[in-house]
C-alpha cells in the first residue's frame, strides 16, 4: 500500500486470533462478491433440483461432443469457438425457464439474467434446450418467437420468429445467441420464448414439467474488457 495508508495484512498480526478470523472472513466475502459483480449474497428462492442440474450438464456435454465431431460446423456467429481469453474472466450460465402465460395454442417461457451479468459481460454463445413431447407420428409445425421487454418494460419486442418442423419427441437445441446479445445490448434482462402450435396439439413441451426435461438456456459469456487503444 502507498506509504502512510493502512495495510490490511500489517494490522492483522496485532489482532487477537478470533478478531483476526472475523476480519479475514469479512475480507473473503467482500473479495468474492466483488469479483462476481454481486452487490450482496444472493438469496436463493428457487434452487434447481439436482436432477435438472445434472441432466442439463449432461445435455451440454453431449451437445459439445456433437459439435466437436460434426464436420464443417457453421462458422457464422452462432457457434463461436471460445479461445480461453488471456486472463479474461469467462462465465458459463445455466438459466432454467420460468413458466409464463399460455393459451390452448401458445406456451411462454421466461429466462431471466441478472443486471450485473448483463452489464459486466458480453455473450459469446447461447443455446436453448427444449424437450419436445409430440402427440403422434408425422410432422408438427411450431412457430417459435423470441421476445424481450422494451427498456420501459411495457411492450414486448420480437427479436426473431422461426418456423420449426417437429418430427419426434426428444431434446432439441436452438441457437439464441443473437437474441441474448441484443437483450444485453439493450440493458434488458429477460428473454421470453413463445411457442405456437396447431390447435389440436396441446402443449408442445413435456406436460407436468418433469424436472429433468425442463427447458433451459446455456450461455457462455466473457467479462467486458475496458476498451484499450494502442498507438504506434
Amino acid at each position: 500500500t502507498p506509504k502512510g495508508v493502512w495495510c490490511p495484512a500489517c494490522g492483522l498480526a496485532a489482532l487477537a486470533p478470533t478478531v483476526q478470523r472475523d476480519v479475514l472472513i469479512t475480507m473473503a466475502k467482500q473479495s468474492i462478491l466483488s469479483k462476481l459483480h454481486l452487490p450482496d449474497r444472493p438469496n436463493i428462492t428457487q434452487p434447481t433440483s439436482r436432477g435438472a442440474l445434472l441432466n442439463a450438464l449432461h445435455r451440454m456435454r453431449a451437445q459439445r461432443m456433437d459439435m466437436a465431431v460434426s464436420p464443417g460446423m457453421p462458422l457464422d456467429g452462432s457457434i463461436l469457438h471460445l479461445r480461453p481469453g488471456m486472463g479474461v474472466q469467462e462465465y458459463e450460465i445455466l438459466s432454467f425457464a420460468k413458466s409464463g402465460s399460455s393459451t390452448s395454442r401458445t406456451v411462454r417461457l421466461h429466462f431471466h439474467f441478472t443486471r450485473e451479468l448483463a452489464r459486466s459481460t458480453e455473450i459469446l454463445q447461447a443455446t436453448l434446450y427444449l424437450f419436445w413431447a409430440v402427440p403422434g407420428p408425422g410432422t408438427h409445425p411450431v412457430t417459435m418467437r423470441l421476445l424481450h421487454p422494451d427498456p420501459m418494460g411495457l411492450n414486448m419486442t420480437m427479436a426473431s420468429e422461426t418456423q420449426l418442423e417437429v418430427q419426434r419427441a426428444g431434446w432439441a437445441t436452438l441457437d439464441v445467441g443473437r437474441a441474448v446479445q441484443s437483450l444485453f445490448g439493450q440493458g434488458s434482462q429477460r428473454l421470453t420464448v413463445e411457442l405456437e402450435v396447431a390447435e389440436d396439439w396441446g402443449s408442445p413441451l413435456l406436460a407436468g414439467h418433469s424436472d429433468s426435461h425442463w427447458p433451459f438456456v446455456a450461455a457462455r459469456a466473457r467479462a467486458r474488457t475496458t476498451h484499450r487503444v494502442q498507438r504506434r
Binding site: 495484512a9 479475514l24 436463493i44 450460465i93
Partner: protein
C-alpha cells in the same frame, strides 16, 4: 516460497481456509466447499529483498550478508504473492441461474520479498 510455521517472522504464506458452510453460504455456492484465502505476511529485511521466499542455500546467505553490509539506499521490501491461481466457482446468482466461472489470481500459492 515457504509456509508460515508457529514462530516464523520472515516473509511466508499464511494458510486460511474459509468453509462456505461455516459462513452460511453453502446454499448459494454449489461448488467448491470453501476458499483457500491464503495471504502473505512477515518481514522482508533489506538483505532479503528480491529473493522469492526465504533464502535456503549457503550461497544465498553469503550474498545476503554482502548485500546487508554494502547496501546504502534504505529501500522498503514487501512480502507479496509470487504465485497465484484462479478460484473456480459454481454458484446461484440472484435470479437462481447457475453460473460457473474461474476468478483469476484468487488463491495465493507462494510469497516472496519484492
Amino acid at each position: 516460497g515457504i509456509d508460515c510455521s508457529g514462530d516464523s517472522r520472515m516473509c511466508c504464506r499464511k494458510e486460511f481456509f474459509v468453509d462456505f458452510k461455516e459462513i452460511g453460504w453453502e446454499d448459494c455456492i454449489i461448488q467448491p466447499e470453501g476458499y483457500h484465502m491464503n495471504y502473505c505476511t512477515g518481514l522482508c529485511p533489506l538483505h532479503m529483498a528480491g529473493i522469492p521466499g526465504l533464502a535456503a542455500s549457503f550461497h544465498t546467505a553469503v550474498l545476503n550478508l554482502i548485500k546487508a553490509n554494502n547496501a546504502d539506499a534504505a529501500v522498503d521490501s514487501c512480502c507479496v504473492p509470487t504465485q497465484r491461481r484462479p478460484l473456480s466457482l459454481l454458484y446461484y446468482d440472484r435470479d437462481s441461474n447457475i453460473v460457473k466461472t474461474d476468478i483469476p489470481d484468487m488463491i495465493v500459492d507462494a510469497c516472496g520479498c519484492t
